[in-house]
């Protein structure tokens, strides 16, 4: 039924292509879509409907309805009528059971009519309660269209390109092309997009044409994602012209969903674009010129048009379509039966205003034309062509009994269902939509929204204007998740020593946004090395903020709870960052390198939050101080263990003797030739140095330290070793031992707070909490059994807190940890229980202070 060559056809008869459909090979030309090729090859039933499994075929052939959903190369529910044939596709029909031609589930349509009215599932399966899970499992197997997971999806890229446009014109029909040409002539940068492939070859000078390219939505700031093949154009436009035209609305009559019933757009595209004769004997019910033109095209294509009825201005005829073997066989008009295999019918054309409504334009009901049309537009957004309502109207109607008159073909919702819903009290379009599921299918209301509002208006007596519309929401066309998501994009931070660590055998884990070595193969050996020899750890992940200026000291006294003014040059002090409400958000160190120069370190995850809080405090009080984020400029290592001093002495010009470089001292000098800042702090509990140096020299310094430490059995340390070693000292890790509510008072850090130094972050809240006393306390504990971290602390059988950290000590072999307990039992030796899971309990006792080297001699030695 392919017609001979016609001018204006958009197929290339010299470029043959094939694809398979349910295993059979199908011939097509370049320019055909899968739908047009199948239709040309005689296929009429394309899919089965959602609830009644009625046969469905091409109805709009323009990507508006769900009558041709098929699986293409593993992609479910593709609108075959607009999917251009590339060649070699594996196309499969989507049926729950049987085949397209014979679907046993169709019994639901014949038998279940009265038993499955709209909302039936709210009345069934209530009693007995135990029955429902089985009914639900059965229902699940009977619903759902696309198959997923049988074969891995065909890998195809989805890239994103961020673009700007002077004028973005959506819709390349006559009015869209005019608008594009006009703005291009004014010298604007114009992009014209249209979802229909036939405009791919359209050329207008000064205009970039993207076709097929679907504008998925109009987002805030006039941002429009245009979904083309393999590329999402994310266009921010100074001006948007919406010229998306209007859509044929189905005529409502009994059997209006049968394959063989089509709208004028289907005829225009089948004959006009792909030179296909849609049928042999046709009846045309014309509601507008589109109907007249369809009749003309059919005669030109050699179809016998046995009857043409003009629906304009006449009493709606009683129409009933009859089927044989699932296909249209005849139509009864006011009792007169006419055999035909094609019935072209529509009620008129409704403006496709969704993108305008999404952008914020208001919509009104034009009673004269019986359509919803855009009303006030927002600035930067224009409407052109029939989307404005000009040349669009939906006035024609037909009488139908309503039992199989489909208002919403996607969801099998009939006119009778809507009337019944109103009868039950669902009189507003929004709850009628949720109750009947009308407009909730793949066409998202393109073909059924207007009819639903008008049906409600008739049933309730409330006018369409008062009933209003449902909210227009993106996407304008169903779009695959993979195409919207685009390329994988998960920024991870790596230190300058990332590859040096990898070569040393590091096993990487995520800690927040950082990739960090968890261990280098043997965490226990790493711990042992620190206690007995020396270990080297990459701590470049620490946040580093250089604070410099006349008000630097006053500033730090304001943002830290502890006193900073007493910190001398070349000394370092531990500090806590709090929120205004006195909760801990981070911890770190304050290193004074000059009268008005400090380096402040934060945890690896906390630097952004602290940096922004610092700048806010400076701006609020107009302080003369600069805060410079040098986290990336400097790398850092911690060299810890009894042999640390000896190793360091081999690579630095700084005098490392204990008297010259005491605990909490700071020195600056060269390490492995790089300009470095060194300090003695004891987070890991042994003699230790934290060394900061330019990241550009990081690998050089790391290799030098490892070489110098070789004879002492130096090992690189991972996060696992860090967690174990600091736990021996009872040191907390913010984010692991603290949560969003933890305060310094709960962690025994009250004494650090310099209450008398005037305003500092959180002082009022902390002051009040201090008067009232904390409810819980974060304390060390020893236990008989090793609990999982997070497990509940039980006091008197009730949940009284939780374990935040727990390990078996590499030094004492005892189980040690940190936990929240009720403040009342926060003192040394108090007993409590741990929930070990499956109802088992374990004993535990509070231990205040470090488990290992409580007086810190090893750190200070």
């Amino acid at each position: 039924m392919r017609l001979p060559r016609r001018d204006g056809e958009t197929i290339d008869r010299d470029d043959r292509r094939t694809f398979t459909f349910d295993g059979k090979e199908v011939q097509a030309y370049a320019g055909d879509t899968i739908g047009s090729a199948l239709y040309a090859n005689g296929q009429r039933i394309f899919t089965r409907s959602f609830k009644y499994h009625r046969p469905r075929g091409l109805s709009c052939a323009a990507g508006n309805c769900a009558g041709c959903l098929m699986e293409v190369d593993g992609e479910p529910s593709v609108k075959a009528c607009t999917r251009t044939v590339q060649g070699g596709e594996v196309v499969r029909s989507q049926t729950i059971s049987g085949s397209l031609e014979r679907d046993p589930m169709r019994v639901v349509d014949h038998v279940a009519g009265p038993v499955t009215p709209v909302g039936f599932y709210y009345r069934l399966g209530i009693r007995p309660k135990a029955a429902w899970p089985h009914i639900e499992r059965m229902l699940r197997r009977m619903t759902g269209l696309g198959r997923v997971g049988e074969a891995p999806p065909k890998p195809h890229r989805a890239d994103v390109e961020h673009r700007t446009a002077g004028v973005l014109v959506i819709g390349a029909g006559r009015s869209g092309q005019e608008a594009a040409a006009r703005y291009a002539a004014e010298g604007r940068q114009v992009i014209l997009v249209d979802e229909r492939a036939e405009y791919a070859s359209l050329a207008i000078d000064g205009v970039e044409v993207i076709a097929p390219g679907t504008a998925l939505g109009v987002y805030e700031g006039r941002l429009v994602p245009v979904h083309a093949d393999g590329l999402m154009h994310r266009i921010r436009a100074e001006k948007i012209v919406v010229a998306t035209g209007s859509i044929d609305q189905p005529l409502l009559f009994e059997g209006n969903d049968l394959p063989g019933v089509m709208t004028p757009s289907a005829v225009r595209r089948l004959v006009g674009l792909w030179s296909i004769r849609p049928g042999t004997r046709a009846v045309v019910l014309a509601a507008d010129e589109a109907g007249d033109e369809a009749a003309r095209l059919l005669r030109e294509a050699g179809t016998q048009v046995v009857e043409t009825i003009d629906l304009r201005g006449v009493r709606p005829p009683k129409v009933k379509a009859a089927a044989r073997h699932g296909l249209l066989a005849a139509v009864e008009i006011d009792g007169r039966k006419i055999d035909c295999d094609l019935l072209v019918a529509s009620a008129g054309r409704q403006p496709a205003y969704s993108l305008l409504a999404q952008s914020g334009c208001s919509v009104r009901f034009d009673a004269e034309k019986g359509i919803f049309a855009p009303d006030q537009l927002v600035d930067g957004v224009e409407a052109a062509g029939s989307v404005t309502g000009e040349g669009a109207a939906v006035l024609a109607a037909a009488e139908g009994a309503g039992k199989r008159t489909f208002v919403c073909p996607c969801e099998d919702v009939t006119a009778k269902d809507l009337v019944r819903a109103v009868g039950e009290g669902f009189e507003d379009i929004e709850i009628a939509k949720r109750y009947t599921t009308v407009t909730m299918g793949p066409c998202q209301g393109r073909l059924c929204h207007l009819h639903s509002v008008r049906a409600l208006a008739r049933a309730t007596g409330v006018g369409e204007a008062a009933l209003g519309t449902t909210t227009a929401r993106p996407p304008w066309q169903p779009t695959p998740l993979g195409d919207v998501g685009g390329r994988k994009l998960n920024p991870g931070k790596r230190t300058a020593l990332h590859d040096a660590n990898r070569r040393a055998g590091a096993q990487y884990v995520w800690t927040g946004v950082w990739r960090r070595p968890d261990h280098y193969g043997d965490a226990a050996a790493e711990i042992k090395a620190v206690h007995e020899g020396v270990g080297l750890m990459d701590v470049s992940t620490l946040g580093k903020l250089y604070v410099s200026g006349p008000d630097a000291e006053a500033f730090l006294d304001g943002v830290f709870p502890n006193r900073i003014s007493t910190l001398k040059v070349d000394r370092v002090r531990y500090g806590i960052f709090n929120t205004d409400s006195g909760r801990i958000i981070d911890d770190g160190t304050i290193i004074r390198v000059g009268e008005r120069d400090f380096l402040v370190t934060t945890s690896s995850g906390g630097v952004d939050q602290v940096y922004e809080a610092f700048l806010l405090w400076v701006a609020e009080r107009k302080l003369a101080v600069d805060v410079v984020n040098v986290s990336g400029a400097l790398s850092a290592v911690s060299l810890s263990g009894p042999k640390a001093r000896e190793v360091l002495s081999r690579v630095t010009d700084v005098d490392v003797a204990n008297e010259a470089f005491k605990f909490l001292d700071v020195r600056q000098g060269a390490v492995a030739g790089a300009s470095a800042l060194l300090m003695r702090i004891g987070f890991l509990g042994e003699l230790g140095y934290e060394i900061h140096f330019p990241s550009t020299a990081a690998e050089h310094v790391w290799e030098a330290l490892m070489k110098a430490g070789a004879e002492f059995g130096i090992l690189p340390l991972g996060v696992e070793a860090l967690k174990a070693l600091r736990l021996e000292k009872g040191h907390i890790i913010v984010g692991i031992d603290t949560d969003s509510e933890t305060t310094m008072l709960e962690c025994g850090m009250g004494p650090m707070i310099a209450w008398d130094k005037g305003e500092f972050v959180g002082n009022e809240a902390l002051g009040r909490m201090n008067e009232r006393g904390a409810d819980r306390a974060l304390v060390g504990f020893t236990a008989d059994d090793l609990p999982n971290e997070g497990t509940a602390v039980l006091v008197g059988g009730e949940v009284g807190g939780r374990v935040t950290s727990a390990r078996r000590s590499a030094v004492s072999g005892q189980v040690i940890g940190l936990a929240y307990v009720p403040a009342a039992i926060g003192s040394e030796g108090s007993a409590f229980e741990l929930d070990l899971g499956e109802g088992r309990r374990g004993g535990a006792k509070v231990h205040i202070g470090a488990f290992y080297d409580p007086d810190g001699e090893r750190m200070r030695g």
């Binding site: 700031g221 409400s581 922004e612 700048l615 701006a619």
Partner: protein
């Protein structure tokens, strides 16, 4: 992407480039609860225009103030600094 924020230094930029810093100065707290917790946790949660602080993370790394209508996300103006003009 969502609404645009007029950064005085960098020009109109999409909101995800900024970190929200809270609105400025809810009007004086009611008498209901004691003063401290009143202004820390209780707020107007205004449905309308309010002054807000934003930090331009993907640009000048400065705090700016804008006036935004929380009903429409319409931003009328942006200023340097952290205080309402």
């Amino acid at each position: 992407m969502s609404f645009l924020i007029p950064c005085p230094h960098c020009g109109n930029r999409p909101q995800p480039e900024f970190a929200y810093g809270g609105n400025i100065g809810d009007d004086p707290p009611g008498s209901m609860l004691d003063v401290l917790s009143e202004d820390l946790y209780f707020n107007d949660n205004t449905a309308g225009e309010q002054f807000e602080r934003w930090f331009h993370r993907f640009g000048c790394e400065r705090w700016i103030v804008i006036r935004r209508d929380t009903r429409t996300n319409q931003v009328s103006e942006g200023w340097e600094g952290v205080d309402a003009p």
